[in-house]
Amino acid sequence: MLHRRIYQFLIIYAIGLGLLLALKYGLNLSDYVIPSPDEIVRTCRTYGGPYLLAVLNTLAVAVLGHILSICLATVVAVIGRLTAWIGSFIRTAAYNIQAYPIVAVAPIIFILLGDGLQSRLLIAAMICYFPLLLSFIGVFSEPIREIEHFYESTGRMTWRLQVKIRAFENIQKLTTVIVGSATMAMVGTIVAEFIAATAGIGYSIRIALYQSDLAKILVALFLIGVGTSLYLVSLEWAGNALQKRLKSL
């Protein structure tokens, strides 16, 4: 499993790199437009270590942000599932806030929160939570009549029970989305670092861009890919274990 994900990633990365290099030699572009393999290897030697540490740093924040956004999405979806005014209001709020590009909202966030880990985490979570929210709202607002009928008609239905029933019946969809959104958490963190932090791989990318150093960016992307794959694999493993446990019940 681990094995597969990683070598699939390697194949993808190799394809991408191959394409770039083909372009380079095909169009005879100079080394400053697309770096030579030689330079990429050199950059990797020099920056591989520090970049790996940066990716780990980023990954740690991403995991936190991911958890935060799962909580956020659950809360919003549980309220947004309601057909009442408040539900539609919360949905409107969630959708509208999401419609704002983070770069436009970031200055306001910094004014309000200052520049600690908080802002970084909030930005990461905001980027990651919306895809979760969409699926969660979809899942939580669709009744499962054959199960819910009893609780409805005996007056036993509570919002918690309803959420539990719908979550349980849709556990596969939910795990798919949660696992998949891990990559969004990663992206969110990188973007947050890109605009705000002084650490993490997003910060390194920012500098590499500033230095117009595509070789560094390629190394960073490689390490991000590996890091993300590892995180995905662990989540997938956990998701499978959970589902297997539930099925074996």
């Binding site: 400053y32 437009v33 020099t46 605009i195 920012r206 117009s212």
Partner: protein, 306 residues
């Protein structure tokens, strides 16, 4: 016991740790502030950071901001004052390839394709240049600049804006490696003197804590002077490398002299000198381009200890 007496202040830079902050870092790490009874947290800036806002919100006590930021804020009533001016010559230049782009004077901008960051201060500078040489916007092609240089690399744009002491060194090296020639267009030499980074604080600070301000400024300027002193070059480079692990030493070695050149263009100039004339020109440029709502009283903005 010594430490407890230190007064703690925050100092927000304009950009990430790089060569333009060498003196700030030098003063911090080599004890200049401590010797003056201060504990200064030198915090890196960034694209979404605005030292002026942090000053007002009380997150920072001192900061670095560009002159256009300062004037814009002052025009909107921000209670700030300028303590020192880091660059005597604005580091913002345009790179071009002399073998492809013939350029010897401002008039020759006509008909060229020029990269510009719309909304950035390079736009203001470029427009001032065009105005100065009587070139209408329709006579040049302005190219919206992003952070990657591909359009310039591919020769689709003649002039590309960059900072002479920072990116220019890196880009130049790449071009050199490819065996290409390059040169820089300096607005300053073409008569547009647009002030760059300055050290700022709030009016409240200079009025209520003049001693702190004085000690900060003294230490800072001293640190800068020593950092730029060729005799301290190796120490200065080491300080930078410690703070910014992303830039190779070879690059920093080239960046430092360029920075010195921009900050101390002539031997008799004192580091940090506030060039009131340049400030007034900057204000005039911003006003003529409607970038500030009204005029700003530059004199009262520029602060000097009597």
């Amino acid at each position: 016991a010594q430490k407890e007496k230190l007064e703690e202040v925050n100092y927000r830079l304009k950009w990430l740790y790089n060569v333009s902050a060498v003196g700030d870092l030098y003063a911090e790490t080599r004890g200049y502030f401590t010797r003056n009874g201060l504990k200064v947290n030198v915090k890196p800036g960034g694209p979404e950071r605005d030292a002026l806002k942090e000053l007002e919100l009380g997150h920072a006590h001192f900061g670095v901001a560009s002159a256009d930021q300062v004037l814009r804020a002052a025009a909107k009533g921000a209670p700030i004052v300028v303590l020192a001016q880091l660059f005597q010559v604005n580091p913002l230049h345009w790179i071009y390839r002399p073998d492809q782009t013939v350029f010897s004077g401002g008039e020759e901008l006509k008909g060229k394709r020029i990269g510009v960051t719309f909304g950035g201060n390079d736009e203001a500078i470029l427009r001032a240049l065009l105005a100065r040489y009587g070139i209408a916007e329709s006579q040049v092609t302005l190219f919206s600049v992003r952070y990657d240089y591909t359009p310039f690399y591919e020769g689709r744009v003649d002039f590309w804006p960059l900072y002479l002491n920072a990116q220019a060194v890196i880009i130049a090296e790449k071009l050199e490696k490819a065996g290409e020639t390059y040169a820089f267009l300096s607005p300053d030499r073409l008569g547009v003197r647009f002030v760059a980074n300055s050290v700022v604080t709030t009016r409240e600070m200079v009025e209520k804590r003049p001693e702190t301000v004085k000690r900060f400024l003294t230490a800072l300027l001293e640190g800068w002077r020593d950092a730029l002193d060729p005799r301290n070059q190796d120490q200065a480079i080491q300080v930078l490398l410690d703070a910014d692990r992303e830039t190779p030493e070879a690059v920093v070695r080239k960046q430092l002299p360029v920075t010195r050149e921009l900050m101390l263009p002539a031997a008799r100039i004192e580091f940090g000198k506030i060039d009131a004339v340049a400030w007034k020109q900057t204000e005039a440029i911003l006003r003529s381009q409607n970038l500030i709502p009204g005029s700003v009283d530059v004199e009262s903005l520029l602060f000097t200890f009597k």
